[in-house]
């Protein structure tokens, strides 16, 4: 078989599976069966994207980590061979997640301080209050209730708004537009319009902060614009990235994690009956591993020939690394398809790996620890108010989850 593949040669075209792949009906927490089959076939296989071109698929944990660390691969989607998610991909800049070092590191380091472990720990009491207040509201309100709307989305939105200095009252606006941005099949015009609105919003907000600076992340970026370290446009892009990444992902972990626990009552009981912070922290890591909600595959363009699993991937070729399948690699995690909150899952790659690994992960971890450590203790009778087959799963998003989760107690 030829070593090079992106758009070259005839090849066994009909056998190459399309990517992304569908999940199996009745298995909402497991990676698509075709992805598992690919991993069993070998460390390197091919998949075909929407553009009709073929790209390398890396399925093993060790290989994904090695490639995501390799400086010879690029996250810049304008590079030849980059596996674009959709035709509209690349039409709007989303800051440093699509850049390489050194510019990536320069920009990223401007916003890392608030996510340091100690800074995040200092926010824990405030997050606990947010979580308790929302649960009070749920208990006082009608049931059944949609857990996404009443709890899963407000928790991270309130937190990221406070951190960035964005008025929470605007949440309908930015949640609506975020939803469009991460939808896989959003039309190009629709996506660009949503992105434009968010950029305009952040730019205006930063204009206000120039006049009235606060003790928040956006005010910090404004200072860097004034000192010439950052252009105003780069600052707005970063604001959009942080706002988007700060609420969509954690919200999905809260709702989908709750669903997974309700479907594994013996595991849920472990959380409901404990206040052991170590067990709660371990549960968060295991749910991150088991669910791996960022399921679109980390994508890279290869800048210079690299060797993976004994095979050469050439410069100009593209690589897709779905972290959900790596987190089910039996060589990394024994009995990988079992949800076991007591296992040590810290080495998972749910936040990615390499220099682009999730910037907000300490915040996400802390929020999830507070949520998982509180919700089921405070509402011990929590249960689904709909059948799992009726639930609307986010098969069409680059972040997996449920659009709604009707619950009662």
């Amino acid at each position: 078989m030829a070593d090079t593949l992106t758009g070259t040669g005839p090849g066994p075209a009909e056998q190459i599976p399309e990517f992304p792949m569908p999940r199996a009906a009745g298995c909402p927490f497991d990676p698509p069966p075709a992805l598992t089959a690919a991993r069993e076939e070998g460390p390197l296989t091919k998949v075909r994207l929407w553009d009709g071109k073929d790209y390398w698929l890396l399925t093993r944990y060790a290989d994904q980590r090695a490639v995501l660390l390799d400086p010879r691969v690029s996250a810049d989607l304008t590079r030849p061979g980059y596996p674009l998610q959709a035709p509209s991909n690349g039409k709007n800049n989303i800051s440093f997640i699509l850049m390489d070092d050194p510019e990536h590191a320069r920009l990223r380091r401007m916003v890392t301080a608030p996510f340091a472990i100690k800074r995040v720990e200092a926010l824990r009491p405030a997050v606990q209050t947010i979580v308790d207040d929302l649960i009070d509201g749920m208990l006082a309100g009608p049931k059944p209730v949609d857990l996404v709307e009443a709890f899963a989305l407000p928790v991270p939105s309130l937190v990221i708004c406070a951190l960035l200095g964005v008025p929470y009252d605007d949440h309908d606006f930015f949640q609506e537009n975020s939803k469009i941005l991460i939808k896989r099949d959003a039309a190009m015009e629709e996506r660009m319009a949503a992105h434009g609105k968010l950029i305009g919003y952040l730019d205006e907000l930063m204009g206000e902060k120039t006049a009235h600076p606060g003790d928040d992340l956006l005010s910090g970026l404004v200072t860097r614009v004034e000192s010439g370290e950052l252009t105003r446009s780069d600052a707005a892009q970063m604001g959009v990235l942080l706002l988007l990444a700060g609420h969509e992902t954690t919200a999905n972990m809260i709702a989908l994690g709750t669903l997974a626990l309700l479907e594994h009552p013996e595991q849920l009981a472990l959380l409901r009956d404990t206040d052991d912070s170590r067990l709660i922290a371990s549960a968060v890591e295991e749910l991150l591993r088991y669910l791996t909600i960022v399921h679109g595959g980390r994508r890279r363009a290869v800048l210079a020939d690299i060797e993976v699993a004994g095979q050469v991937i050439r410069a100009g070729e593209g690589v897709i690394m779905p972290n959900d399948i790596a987190n089910r690699d039996p060589e990394a995690f024994p009995d990988p398809d079992r949800l076991d909150l007591t296992r040590d899952a810290r080495r998972h790659v749910a936040f990615g790996f390499g220099v682009h690994q999730c910037l907000g992960q300490p915040l996400a971890r802390m929020e999830l620890q507070v949520v998982y450590g509180t919700l089921y203790r405070r509402i011990p009778g929590l249960r689904l108010a709909a059948g799992v087959p009726e639930l609307p799963f986010k098969h069409d998003g680059s972040v997996y989850g449920v659009y709604e989760l009707p619950v009662t107690w």
Binding site: L69, A105, R108, R109, M110, T112, A113, F115, A116, I117, K118, R119, V120, R346, R347, F351, G352, F353, G354, V355, Q357, C358, L359, Q361, P362, R365
Partner: protein, 65 residues
């Protein structure tokens, strides 16, 4: 054993601080990690090894000396 951290590689994920808080800390200004105790006692070496394994930037080394 000596703990070494390649500061320019660090991406401030804070994973080392979570794994081995006795050995690592982060700078206030940008969250970049630094080594607090470069020659930690035996009983925290496993935690340091975990930090080496989970560092997303492969910026930490545990060197024999």
């Amino acid at each position: 054993m000596r703990v070494e951290l390649d500061e320019p590689k660090c991406v401030a994920s804070g994973q080392c601080v979570l794994a081995a808080p006795e050995v690592f800390d982060q700078r206030d200004e940008d969250g970049i990690a630094f080594v607090v105790d470069g020659q930690p006692p035996e009983d925290v070496l496993d935690a340091v090894r975990e930090a080496v394994a989970i560092c997303p930037a492969a910026a930490i080394r545990l060197a024999e000396r």
